[in-house]
């Protein structure tokens, strides 16, 4: 049998990239989410170019929610830094604030939908409105999953499972939150530019 190999070698495979496989997988997942939104926004452009496109104003509450999501990214970063310093009380506080801001964002998005309905823009109708509902709805679904992730982290912090030496999950959560924030900003700017 050939497997009686060199005895000098070490058991652990060398990690050719200094990246945790879980974090790496996370980035690949983010790539798929990115592709999903890229394809919908490019479908939006293609469809808009064909004409018969109803114009309407973006709901005002989207400006507020954009502000909220930026603030939540800052608090998330504070939570990350706090847990990196093993300052768990602060980490708990900031994760909690971020979760509340996340929920506030979702509520704001919903109010945005209500405003759209008041402006007579419905899911069913001209694709310009349908696209807006689908894009914001899909983003909100992802954000809900991120809020769930935040709550899991909150529990983990309470149980003392997060520390400066055990940051993988915290880092993944932070990455996901920043990603969804940046994604919303991209979508928002996109929607402003392509009315």
């Amino acid at each position: 049998m050939e497997n009686a190999v060199d005895l000098r070698l070490v058991e652990e495979p060398k990690k050719p990239l200094a990246m945790n496989p879980k974090k790496f997988g996370m980035w690949l997942f983010l790539a798929t989410v990115m592709m999903l939104f890229m394809s919908i926004t490019s479908a939006y452009i293609v469809r808009q170019a064909e004409g018969n496109w109803v114009y309407f104003e973006l709901p005002p509450s989207f400006y507020i929610t954009s502000f909220i999501i930026v603030v939540s990214s800052i608090t998330m970063h504070w939570a990350y830094r706090a847990s990196k310093r093993d300052d768990l009380a602060k980490a708990r506080l900031h994760i909690a604030i971020t979760s509340v801001l996340g929920v506030a964002f979702l509520v704001g998005q919903f109010i945005g939908w209500v405003e759209l309905v008041q402006a007579n823009v419905y899911l069913v109708g001209n694709p310009s409105g349908s696209f807006l509902y689908v894009i914001t709805g899909l983003h909100a679904l992802h954000l809900i999953s991120a809020v769930v992730f935040l709550l899991i982290m909150l529990v983990a912090v309470f149980q003392g499972k997060v520390s400066a030496r055990n940051m993988t999950k915290m880092e993944m959560c932070t990455t996901y939150w920043h990603f969804l924030g940046a994604l919303w900003l991209y979508l928002f700017v996109f929607l402003i530019l392509y009315r």
Partner: protein, 616 residues
């Protein structure tokens, strides 16, 4: 479905039957689950094709003997129901492209070979890997169920173009059948993405000591590129399907506009059916390479091993796969030349499409030069690999015709296209899959498959497939459109009745020949000759594992890799192969000057790493 199928005679000391064979996180068991499910799907897909070939080859035959199987889908006159015919071709396409050649091929061999060939204990996440299979299983169940509902399965073609697929009023298959199709594909996409994330992570992060990217077997390169393509393209199909679901179920108008049914206008305004085609083919074209690249990788490995020669142009092989992967994303509109697209845009897509011929030709050239003057061993796997190269060539050449926007106006949606993609993607990938099964069967089940049956299987299938698809070129050039239920009403096509009959008979024989393979497969699992440790004298790491590798693959330490995987017939070497884990210090007689230099590094490298370990 496959509870009984993947018993292995190894003895896992931990875990009961359920955790070992059903909800397993071991990549080898998951690979076998994918393989067996894929084979069941291949049988179903093949059977569907036989049924519609009966209709096409023998349009006047009385098929009432199929009533026990198809029931109401056979009309009172003993004919196949025309709408069911559409469902047959739709499901044949869907099943073969996604369930057999994506999940069955990539799912099986990426799962099986990546950890074994890069030297890892398992995938990066065994749990996600298990989820990947079970999402595929759920997707399979939904699709399988759709075959038996009273309104019939989806019937809008495997490309599910709206408005046909969006309106239940259009055909009965666009009702519940289409809904199930979409649900099934959503699950399938999740499965495929979970798998791809795992494959990429494993290849990048879990390679064994010394396994640099330049020492990776070409199989791994192929699976790696395939997974990247999948990550980038499947979300787009998801988006397309999502918008279609909204159109179907929630009344939106993404794809629908100005449609009149029975003189009444539908309320949908402002949609664009062409938009769907763009989204679909942005996945659809890369999907062709998701299907094909793993087969090409498998072939590279098998041809090199059985020619007892290093693969010709290793870097060119990797480069051409990378080039194909990149190009696959910028050619999608060549499926849409006749949608009224801007002719200038058509020329651009023609140009980009024809460029794919360059990396493809590089690959074929390298296969042929690898075989050239090698000590050929015609194992069944080798024959199927050579068959793949043959199909890839003949099918690829017709790609130059249909890829040309001017010529495509005549050939679009004819049997010429059917012949083209069945050869280049269908038959070639299928041969890659079968070659892979013959080649890695000893590693999967610890036994050998029967060679003689393999040869019979190969020759019938090889000749059969050419007899099925070669005549289709003529039928296609004559203008016969695909997906038509019958052509007996058209004088023009009267001359092709005999040719169609030949095609149908060959198709039935070819599908029948797969039962030889099936018998060989099942028989060999239980009664095959016991496999030696390295039956093909191959260089890659999977052959350094025991005959029945347990979960974790290597009982001791994972071997270190010192050399590339293609040291076959190296001048001066004692044997005609030197596996990857043999250090250069053990082969002074065959080392090249720069390799002898590396000997010094071997020791240092390891001591350094041991020290590193102490620090942690």
């Amino acid at each position: 479905m496959e509870n009984h199928s993947h018993e292995e005679h190894g003895h896992e000391h931990h875990g009961n039957f359920w955790t070992t064979y059903i909800f397993s996180e071991d990549h080898k068991v998951i690979a076998k689950q994918f393989l067996i499910t894929g084979m069941i799907w291949a049988l179903i897909g093949g059977t569907l094709s036989v049924i519609f070939r009966l209709q096409l080859g023998f349009p006047n035959a009385n098929l009432s003997w199929l009533k026990p199987l198809l029931g109401g889908w056979i009309t009172a006159e003993g004919k196949i129901d025309p709408e069911f015919y559409l469902a047959l071709v739709t499901m044949h396409g869907t099943i073969m492209v996604f369930f057999v050649l994506t999940a069955g091929l990539s799912g099986t061999f990426s799962n099986f070979l990546i950890p074994l060939q890069v030297g890892a204990r398992d995938m990066a996440s065994g749990f996600m890997n298990m989820l990947s299979y079970w999402f595929f299983f759920a997707s399979s169940c939904v699709m399988f169920t759709s075959l038996f509902i009273s309104t019939g399965p989806a019937a809008g073609g495997w490309v599910i173009y709206p408005p046909l697929s969006a309106l239940p009023q259009a055909i009965s298959g666009s009702g519940l059948g289409m809904t199930l199709w979409l649900v099934s594909m959503a699950l399938f996409i999740i499965s495929s993405l979970l798998g791809s994330i795992n494959y990429i992570t494993t290849v990048i992060n879990l390679r064994t000591v010394g396994m640099s990217f330049t020492k990776l077997p070409l199989t791994i390169w192929a699976f790696f590129f395939t997974a990247i393509i999948g990550i980038l393209s499947f979300p787009v199909l998801f988006a397309a399907a999502l918008l279609l679901i909204f159109d179907r179920s929630f009344g939106t108008s993404f794809y629908l506009s100005d449609i009149y049914i029975g003189g009444e206008a539908l309320p949908n305004e402002g949609g664009s059916p062409i938009l769907f085609q763009h989204l679909f083919w942005f996945l659809g074209h890369p999907e062709v390479y998701i299907v094909l690249l793993p087969a090409l990788g498998i072939t590279s490995e098998i041809i090199s091993t059985n020619s007892r020669k290093p693969i010709f142009g290793y870097k060119a092989m990797v480069g051409s796969m990378l080039f194909i992967a990149v190009l696959s994303f910028v050619v999608w509109a060549h499926h849409m030349f006749v949608t009224g697209m801007n002719p200038f845009l058509g020329s651009i897509f023609t140009l980009l499409t024809l460029i794919i011929a360059v990396p493809s030709a590089v690959k074929i050239f390298n296969y042929v030069t690898t075989i050239w003057r090698g000590n050929l061993r015609f194992t069944p796997a080798m024959l199927f690999s050579i068959g793949l190269v043959s199909f890839f060539l003949t099918g690829g050449i017709t790609g130059l015709f249909v890829g040309n926007s001017a010529v495509d106006i005549q050939l679009h949606d004819t049997y010429f296209v059917v012949a083209h993609f069945h050869l280049v993607m269908g038959a070639a990938s299928f041969f890659g899959m079968v070659a892979g099964v013959y080649h890695w069967f000893p590693k999967m089940f610890g036994r050998m498959m029967n060679d003689k049956l393999g040869y019979i299987h190969f020759w019938i299938t090889f000749i059969g497939i050419y007899m099925v698809f070669f005549p289709m070129h003529y039928i296609g050039i004559a203008g016969f459109p695909r997906r038509y239920y019958t052509w007996t009403n058209f004088e023009t096509f009267g001359g092709f009745t005999d040719l169609n009959m030949v095609v149908s008979i060959s198709a039935i024989v070819s599908v029948g020949a797969q039962f030889i393979f099936l018998f060989n497969f099942i028989y060999s699992i239980f009664r095959g000759k016991l496999a030696p440790a390295n039956p093909w004298q191959s260089n890659t790491l999977e052959w350094t594992t025991p005959r029945h590798p347990q979960h974790g693959n290597w009982p001791g330490e994972i071997p270190t890799v010192y050399r590339w995987p293609y040291d076959y017939s190296k001048p001066g070497a004692k044997e005609d192969y030197i596996p990857q884990h043999i250090p250069f210090s053990e082969t002074p007689e065959s080392n090249l000057p720069h390799e002898s230099e590396l000997i010094k590094l071997e020791g240092i490298d390891n001591t350094m790493r041991v020290e590193e370990k102490k620090h942690h």
